[in-house]
Symmetry: none
Subunit: 259 residues, 2 copies
DNA sequence: ACAATTTATGCACGATCTTGCACGTTTCTT
DNA sequence: AAGAAACGTGCAAGATCGTGCATAAATTGT
């Protein structure tokens, strides 16, 4: 005896939407709202639970249990410091532009801080950032292929460089392992340094978001000169002399947390 | 007995318009509104659904792919059905081999079911699967680049095909939108079909894990012939006649849940 | 012009789906 | 511990579905 003004699938979708918007649903309440018996609601919730789309509890249902994926967990941690850096960084991004974002947790924070509905084109060699961008239907996403360095979480090597050679971004956020005035941006491996050098040279503007621990340090492999860097986004705790020194190289310094 | 004041195509177009303006249609309502039998309406809706222009549900139809949420929401779901399919699928994978895994939730389940410490080389065009593989330090990971179809969660197009042309996997798990004995494996878009065709032809073995709803149905764009498929992993609920029919094509059928 | 074929439609029939109710069991509350 | 509420399961009724078949209109071929 199907209800005359509500399709089964439609009700299921509404229950799931309500579940996400309100965080929980009660079987009895849903039954009166949709004017069906609680038995039917229970069946709906069972069906949702069987697909992993909700977590069945006594009296109703909750949103799906937090995913156990290790990466998902790690992603959730987004220290305020990095969030502040990211918020300052994304002001450089203009709607409609082509933006490259490198691998790294700071850069993932930048991707997360980008306006979700702005029609940007995101280019990345990091699977984690590409996967994140799947949640942004308004974006265009271009993935750089190649052999992925699992520890770094980034595609590197000849194939990646070839993919990259077809693209010239308006702006590139490059993660560096060290940033020093004499050695410039440095990386932990040769392949990584090679890749960063290429993307730095291909981009119209280069931005580097730096936590304090990377500033004025060197990693083994030089990637590109400090003067190639258009913008440096720094934490508010940096000394004014450091800011002045970087500014002398023609690098536009942005202090996170400042208005 | 065509209605004198309503052409067939005209009615189809009106149904589709109503579907989009109201978000749903009821077969019975349409029948009385257009003064035809519900059988005719059912045929119309079937026709629309075959073209992917609506989603058929009990009692009527809903707009195509209601895309109720982004990937983030859909991702966590790993129904037992898919997990069983995945567990049966991964038995095809030999340690040390090169395995391609296509986009899709079923294929993500397959990736998750692979032995974490086995030294396989994973090739994928799906950011979500690549991101998952970052949690597997023992694997080698090769990412296929290119323009990513955000709705599908997969890199497609010329760049992806070029990346792919450098690789010949031992085994490819390909997600298909429909699998039919005459039309073979079919996809929802032309680019998708092209990509699947290429990977199917480049791989030594091709495996297709199929939930029941995809079996014996067709999507608009043919990807590759059923005979190109080396293994088909099916749910335990399939009929024995279906299994026999598929077996006649030389496809090795595996029933999930069986020992 | 006439016959054959195709197409659209309606009808019959068995299969499937959804729903509400009954009944015994489990879980929560007091 | 006891009562109340929620739960799962089996069952029946009604609605819907898919398929095969017949009919009528339109199209095509001769």
């Amino acid at each position: 005896m199907p209800d005359s003004d509500m399709l089964h699938e439609e009700r299921i979708a509404l229950i799931e939407a309500k579940l996400h918007s309100q965080g929980r649903v009660f079987a009895a309440h849903l039954a009166s709202e949709f004017e069906v018996s609680v038995d039917t609601i229970r069946r709906d919730l069972r069906e949702l639970a069987a697909d992993g789309r909700c977590q069945r509890v006594y009296g109703g249902a909750l949103p799906p249990a937090p995913r156990t994926g290790t990466h998902q967990q790690r992603r959730g941690q987004m220290p305020d410091r990095k969030r502040l850096l990211a918020q300052a960084s994304v002001r450089l991004v203009e709607p409609g532009s082509v933006v490259f974002i490198d691998a790294g947790t700071t850069n993932l924070a930048i991707a997360a801080a980008l306006p979700p509905d702005s029609p940007i084109t995101l280019v990345t060699n990091a699977p984690a950032i590409a996967a994140f961008a799947l949640d942004r239907p308004s974006w265009r996403l271009i993935q750089i292929g190649g052999v992925v360095d699992i520890a770094l979480g980034a595609a590197l090597g000849a194939a990646a460089q070839r993919d990259l050679s077809a693209i010239s971004p308006d702006l590139a956020f490059i993660g560096v392992c060290g940033f020093d005035l004499s050695a410039g941006a440095t990386a932990h491996s040769l392949e990584e340094a090679e890749f960063k050098r290429q993307i730095a040279m291909r981009s119209r503007e280069v931005a580097v978001a730096l936590t304090d621990d990377k500033l004025l340090t060197q990693a083994p492999f030089p990637a590109f000169a400090a003067s190639l860097c258009t913008h440096a986004i720094l934490e508010a705790s940096v000394s004014s002399t450091t800011v002045a020194t970087i500014g002398e190289l023609g690098v536009n310094t942005i202090i996170a947390g400042a208005i």
